[in-house]
């Protein structure tokens, strides 16, 4: 896959950044979700993906409104609270050459739709699954979500007494084939993670800590900008290298990088920081998450990737032509075959 220079005006698909834009955001000023939308636009533009080759999905909540704020030239479906994975799974069978991009929130994924999220991962449904995670219900004016940390104080509800759900851990134990965590306030890393997710052939979960500026931005809170900025511990520097553009490799010193080859031959290059992190080891991913939690730090980066994992579509023997373009003749069995069927029903003739 070729990569457009981030500074050019027209990418290799012949499209400008404007062709990737969405409608103006109606979310709060400064909402982390808006910067995520911008990075989705940038990632798709730079990957030269035609917007028509993306299909957007979302559930219900602030996060789920955001798909209208990017890629207006993509089909999109804003469905029911927590049920986005189910709609996405069904819809993507229509044309499997179109890349699914789901945007969910912590209420959507970690509460009402937890079951669907886990099953989407279990089936390795090939799509990008973004969780815009702010630990709070925004649209209903500030209730705790299942990812809110214990002891968090909110104006109306007081102190949260429950333990939080860690979406990355949930994804890991359900055999998701790509698990990453990003921070809305770190656009550079986020864009790289999004690019890698977009070319990963399997379910790519990115849990993005995306602070809520209105209901949940106390400085000492895990989901606030200030806390995120002070406590973010990137796992590694990540560079995404498309398959036919390997020259970028020269920018890195051998020995200090781990390369992960994605399905189309492109590479993710992880520049190691203070430890020898292996992103293909699921247990190691769980361990570093647990460790970060103990150290009260926000671990970001690509936690786990399994490039060759069998996907949902690999489990079916689908025709070359997208199912939704098959003709009536291709999907109605012949008249003669019905005689056979009748015989199978103990036909008396």
């Amino acid at each position: 896959m070729a990569l457009a220079d981030s500074r050019v005006n027209v990418n290799l698909a012949g499209l400008s950044r404007n062709d990737y834009k969405g409608s103006p955001s109606t979310l709060c000023q400064g909402c982390g979700h808006n910067s995520i939308s911008s990075q989705i636009v940038a990632a798709c533009f730079e990957l030269n993906i035609r917007p028509e080759k993306i299909v957007k999905f979302s559930g219900i909540g602030c996060s789920s409104k955001s798909p209208t704020y990017f890629l207006n030239r993509s089909f999109g479906f804003n469905g029911l609270h927590g049920r986005m994975p189910t709609l996405a799974l069904g819809a993507m069978f229509g044309d499997t050459s179109v890349r699914g991009l789901g945007v969910s929130g912590d209420g959507d994924t970690a509460s009402i739709g937890m079951g669907h999220f886990k099953h989407l991962a279990r089936r390795n449904t090939p799509m990008v699954y973004i969780v815009e995670n702010n630990g709070v219900y925004g649209l209903t004016k500030g209730q705790f979500s299942a990812t809110a940390e214990e002891g968090l104080e909110l104006k109306r509800q007081g102190i949260n007494t429950y333990l939080p759900v860690d979406i990355c851990m949930e994804a890991l134990v359900t055999n998701a084939s790509f698990v990453a965590r990003g921070f809305a306030g770190d656009p550079k890393q986020l864009k790289t993670l999004l690019k890698a997710a977009l070319v990963h052939d399997g379910l790519a979960v990115i849990d993005i800590i995306s602070p809520c500026v209105t209901f949940h931005n106390k400085e000492n809170s895990f989901h606030s900008y200030q806390w995120g900025k002070d406590n973010e511990a990137p796992l590694h520097d990540i560079t995404f290298v498309p398959s036919r553009d390997e020259i970028t490799l020269e920018d890195f010193e051998p020995g200090s990088t781990t390369e992960v080859t994605l399905h189309d031959g492109s590479l993710i290059i992880l520049k190691k920081l203070d430890k020898d992190y292996d992103p293909t080891n699921r247990f190691e991913a769980l361990r570093v998450l647990e460790e970060a939690d103990q150290n009260n730090s926000l671990l970001t980066g690509l936690l786990f990737v399994e490039p060759g994992a069998k996907t949902l579509f690999d489990r079916y023997n689908l025709p070359e032509t997208p199912l939704n373009r098959l003709t009536p003749e291709q999907i109605r069995p012949t008249r003669e075959s019905l005689q056979e069927v009748n015989k199978m029903m103990f036909l008396q003739d």
Binding site: G79, L80, G90, A91, F93, R325, P333
Partner: protein
């Protein structure tokens, strides 16, 4: 009293006439004992002899151990409904033998294992003990198979005693074991042994006989769930998502089973239908709606509890105009209810399904042939109208085997509705004078055009949402926009009758109408004949879809009064018709009950006669 003396006495009680091809055999067995194979085999053998036959399985919600009954009705006149009395009982279950003995009509017959000890409380029935243990012991089969082959002993004894042709038994065996010679031989051998024993040791003193007829030519034997699955496959189904639930599971399983035969591309070996077992019913309907949205002919199948979970999603599909087909194979509710028993109790639920103002197109198949027909037709209707279509079958129709005319190939070309691909969008504006918008009623027929995922034309994509939206699918909370779209949806629903199946009407020129739906039609047909024999002529209307056609209103207005016969407590069809025809001051009489069993003609007749007496003073 000695056995001989008893038999003599029974002979006297019993009418001297032979009863041929017109009686009921009930098999009382233990769930999980493999009796279904034996019972279905007898049914097929009788069917092969040209005798009209129907079978009803009354089973518990259990894998193994609880009592289960299978009732076979032979009806030379072709009636397929349940009857309440048993003529012959094969009592294999010690736990229920007393009940079975009581259920026999005078002159009836009880077959039972000779080692079964029970108090004989009837002196007006024929008793035939069977040496089940002895024959199975002598048979050369592994001990683990003994219980299973025990069923073949009663097949053999019954075959001999009522005169089933051995050749038909062999055909039924061959069909069941799909030509596997060894299995056929083992079973046939035991049947022959048992028949031989009966010939040598039992004296026939009952009056029940079967004789070859020619009433099943061109007929098949199948269940409604299989028929629905096959119909769907002929309708071009491309996506099925489901979650296991009795009595609907076998519908989706049959799609899976027949797909390789019917829907694999010859040249490439690729599959043109996808079946996904979802994590729950919410997911099943979500997947099906997602698939329907992206242009696939999509289906989910469930029963009442599952449909309850699917309700929110169906509201979304209604408002965002997505075609999807939902089969509800009804069982007895509320709650878990009687999960293995039949009912027509989801009618008003489905009619009013969803929050806010919604309407759903409902199809009401009344036979396995209609399960097949509505199987393919439901996709045409759903895609034409861009709306969910809910098909209400039931456990009796869906899971029991029915004799039926063979399936007929779809007599209409596939209707994919209004779909625009890249080339269609090129000249859309020239053709319609406006730019494409997902919800624009450019044809002024209430149905807009839709584009599908994968369409590469830059003008094709739109954003689907369950929130308020305008003609271009953009978010809107504008009151006028909302009113306009909801008004169009209402008109679209009213126009559905152009595409949905009309009622089946039998006009005998009577002033009394009987209205019914679905599988209740079978006992109603028989009840009509019984009433006619008593001098009460009736006309029939079986409603096959909702919203109501004009023909339904006309039928009701034309008759002095109508009985509405259905299998639920509240008379749900009666409620809907009363509500829709509120102004008419009509005499609509409710004949409804739900006790878990299919209605019988006798009950319907009694109910109607009771009401006739009260209202008309007819005795």
């Amino acid at each position: 009293m000695t056995q001989e003396a008893r038999q003599e006495m029974v002979k006297e009680i019993a009418t001297p006439d032979r009863i041929v091809n017109n009686f009921v055999i009930t098999f009382g067995t233990v769930n999980g004992s493999g009796s279904a194979t034996a019972n279905t085999m007898i049914m097929r053998a009788l069917f092969d002899m040209g005798i009209p036959v129907s079978g009803k399985n009354i089973f518990p919600s259990n894998i193994q151990g609880l009592p289960t009954w299978y009732t076979l009705r032979l009806s030379k006149d072709g009636y397929l409904a349940r009857v309440e009395e048993d003529d012959i009982v094969i009592a294999m279950n010690p736990a229920t033998i007393r009940k079975e003995l009581d259920s026999l009509i005078p002159g009836g017959v009880l077959f039972y294992p000779d080692d079964l000890k029970f108090e004989i409380t009837r002196d007006d029935v024929v008793l035939y003990p069977m040496p089940i243990k002895k024959i199975t012991k002598e048979a050369d089969v592994s001990p683990s198979l003994r219980d299973y082959v025990a069923n073949m002993v009663y097949v053999g004894v019954l075959t001999e005693m009522i005169g089933i042709e051995m050749d038909s038994i062999r055909k039924a065996l061959r069909f069941h074991f799909k030509g596997k010679e060894k299995s056929i031989q083992i079973n046939f051998h035991i049947i022959e042994q048992a028949a031989q024993w009966a010939k040598e040791n039992l004296t026939k003193v009952d009056r029940y006989y079967v004789e070859r007829m020619d009433a099943t030519h061109g007929y098949i034997m199948t269940d409604g769930n299989t028929a629905a699955a096959l119909g769907s496959l002929y309708g071009g189904i491309e996506f099925a998502a489901w979650y296991p639930i009795t009595p609907a599971s076998s519908l989706a399983e049959s799609i899976h089973e027949y797909a390789p035969m019917l829907r694999q591309e010859k040249e490439t070996g690729k599959d043109t239908v996808v079946v996904v077992q979802a994590e729950d019913e919410l997911a099943a309907i979500g997947m099906a709606i997602g698939a329907g949205w992206s242009g696939l002919r999509a289906l989910t199948s469930t029963s009442g509890p599952g449909l309850s979970l699917m309700t929110e999603f169906l509201g979304l599909a209604y408002y965002s105009e997505i075609p999807v087909v939902v089969w509800d194979v009804q069982r007895v509710g509320p709650s878990t209810g009687l999960p293995t028993r039949t009912a027509q109790g989801d009618l008003t639920f489905v009619y009013f399904l969803g929050h806010g103002d919604t309407n759903f197109v409902i199809l009401l198949p009344g036979s396995v042939n209609e399960c097949f027909e509505f199987g393919w037709k439901s996709f045409d209707i759903a895609e034409r109208l861009q709306t969910p279509v809910i098909v209400l079958s039931d456990l009796d129709l869906g899971m029991n085997e029915w004799m039926a005319p063979q399936f007929e190939y779809p007599d209409l070309p596939m209707d994919r509705g209004k779909i625009l691909w890249e080339e269609d969008l090129q000249n859309f504006e020239d053709l319609h004078g406006v730019a494409y918008g997902r919800y624009k009623d450019v044809d002024n027929d209430t149905i807009p055009y839709r584009t599908l995922v994968g369409n590469q034309h830059p003008k094709a994509p739109y954003f689907t949402r369950g929130t308020g939206h305008d003609e271009n699918a953009n978010y809107s909370e504008d009151s006028d926009v909302w009113l306009k779209s909801m008004d169009r949806l209402k008109r679209k629903f009213q126009n559905a009758v152009q595409y949905t199946p009309k009622p089946e009407i039998v006009d005998n020129g009577s002033h009394i109408g009987i209205i019914t739906i679905g599988s209740a039609g079978f006992p109603v047909l028989e009840a009509q004949d019984m009433l006619a024999a008593q001098g009460i002529k009736t006309d029939l209307m079986r409603i096959r879809s909702l919203p109501m056609h004009q023909e339904v209103r006309d039928f009701i207005k034309k008759h002095e009064y109508c009985y509405i016969v259905e299998l639920n407590r509240d008379g749900q069809l009666h409620q809907i018709i009363s509500m829709k025809m509120f102004d008419s001051h009509l005499d609509l009489r409710k004949v409804a009950k739900a006790d878990g069993l299919p209605l019988s003609a006798k009950w319907i007749v009694n109910e109607i006669l009771k009401i006739e007496e009260v209202k008309n003073g007819v005795s």
